[in-house]
Amino acid sequence: MQRRDFLKNASAAAVGASILPFLKSTPALAQSGDTIVVVTGTTINSLDLHRTGTNRPSYQVAVNCYDRLISFGVKTLPDGSLSYDYDTLVPELAERWEIAADGLSVTFYLKPDAAFWDGTPVTATDVKWSLDRAVSVGGFPTVQMRAGGMESPDQFEIIDDKTIRVHYLQPSKLLLPDLAVPVPFIINSKVALAHATDDDPWAMEYLHRNPAGSGAFKVERWQPSEQLVYIRNDDWQGGPLPAVRRVIIREIPSQSTRRALIERGSVQFSHDIPAKDAREMLANPRVKVIGNPIENCLHVLCPNLNFAPFQDKRVRQAVAYAIPYAEIYRNAAYERGAPMWGGEHLEPQSVVWPQPFPYTTDYDKARELLAQTDYKDGFEVPLSFDLGTAEWGEPTALLIQEGLARIGIRANIERIPGANWRTIALVEKNLPLHLENFGGWLNTPCYYFFWAYVSDRLFNSSNYSDPEMDQLVAETLHIPMDDPDYEPKLKRMIAKAFDEVPRIPLYQPNLEVAMIPQIEGYQFWFHRMPDVRTLKL
């Protein structure tokens, strides 16, 4: 009732303000530093990341409403913007942690004051229950846990009420960072178990609608495909208390409407805006635009090796030389993000990832390469992209179509609706030529290769299969990056990616956000969700 009254009063004040033509109620209220309105184009369909069918935009609830044992630190990038720091782990619910001398387990000591929203303390039992849930429920969370080497509840051992130990299956550099991604969030197991049933031991049905966590924000109101309202948890122990009391995530499907809203100042923050808007709004003094290259992510063209012509490496190389990279960078990426073509050396000079591939737009060279193959007269091939990524996919595909036409390859563009995309492109892997945009959460080059270059892996939609590559990835995936073996092996992997080009990088995309200039504290995160905990007005 009180909340209702509060909003009523607030709206009454806002009505007074709305008599003035350009002062709408929202900015009036937001200027008090109390509320931020964020617009996004996507729907939050669940408050529980572990649930079957939870979509990507919903992961932000795990970020903002739940805590993990640990999190990533923050660093300032050369352009002055803030980013999470993959190389620094910081406490969230755990106060400190120790890796055992044999490197086969890590022990976490929970913060003594850490408490859930209902006031009960966070205990090792809650942590174990939550981690057990993540490795047991199947689907995405279980896959993500496996990627960090966590596969079974046996790996999580309660030492005492405030201490929990995680056992490694093998020493791995990925386990700790994998505990800091949104997936292994800590749930109030007492509340959850009170709503669990025999059919639903993990309380999926309850937590789907009712988060039970310890995080910085609670969910005040959730209307799917309309809005989600966060209200601050004033007793948060996981980090510095957020500066803003309430954050409203409003879903606006029309991209041009979202732009109009932020440009007119009707909302304070617009998340994940198109590159074109980002570039153009830089000129608007009433909007602050921040763009960060998405780590470990590439927009690539994938020639599928199941398609006969692309089995020949020279055909793939010819394609790589027949792409108008600069035009794509200008007309699809609007010069945001990082170019990934025109590398100077055929052999990688470093293990920086991603790094530009040694291809440029060179139609003569492309024709020459194609002439050496059985396909010198060209061939016809469908060129597909996900309708959900049409914003960059469509101009990119059209420009590639033109480039390929110059060397006699006739590409027919096919747009594939989002629902079919995963099935056809990633699971069945039978799109002969397509655009793909995988980005790895864990920021190590070997992790990207693990998903995109290893035989049969989900994002290896080119059907690239090479025993040496599989072997190299298996050898590098878990060893520390300062291991003497790491660099030579990784260079070999990158050299193979350069030479055999089962994936042709176009550019590294940016994550772009726009906000009113008064907002401070925005941080880029690998999960590409709005982390509203650090925003200040």
Partner: protein
Amino acid sequence: MDTLAPRPNTLGRHFLYVLSSNPVTAIAFALFTLIVLTGIFGPLLVPYDPLATHSARALEPPSWDHWFGTDHLGRDVFSRVVVATRLDLLISVAAVSLSFVFGSLLGAMAGFFGGWTDRIIGRVLDTVMAFPLFVLAMGIVAAAGNTIENIIIATAIINLPFYARMVRAEVNIRRNAGFVQAARLSGNSDLRVLATQIFPNALPPIMVQLSLNMGWAILNAAGLSFIGLGVSPPTPEWGIMVAEGANFIVSGEWWLTLFPGMALMLAVFTFNLLGDGLRDLVDPQRRT
């Protein structure tokens, strides 16, 4: 009753009369001719290749070089709008013809035979019409894949019941009319009577419906494009051009959506006015 079947010699005179008495219809016929000619000869006359990108000249406002400006890939909007005419006409003509042929067939059967045939066809048509039509079209295209053929078929299916009902009503009324009885008595078979005596009477109101539906078919295809279920790029089509251009309105590049939008509107407008004109032409009450 037989005044409903106009004879050709008076039709021509009447056509001229309607045109002279109704300037709007005259305009509509002129526009229609223009659109058809554009559809036929447009691709031969345009100044640029509608598919050729020119990334250095992207998003240029209308100028002497590019009358309607250029799009985000530097393609000439004028050329694309003109070339699109043929495809849009093709979609609407094909869809409307399909629904006309099959709708009339079903309607004539239902109206002529009555009884269970009528009931079954009636219920099937009711079922189709009970769907929100645009949603049904979306469903069909989503399920069958977004090719031009499927867009045509979906549009045809959702229009079909209108024709069927119209023909059924006309046929039903005349089934036992005097001139039909006479034709029967003089030894004509049922089918022959249906085809030669009854069905032609249903044609005039259908002509009106045809014209109105042409406009609607274009809008329908455009709507499908807007939600991403339409024609595939880079094929120029008005609906998809408006839909793509829509994202550029707020950033001030109005020409991307305005010109194809105007072309789309003009075509639909023409078909609608034409429908009205045809109605005047066939409406016995308006004849002198």
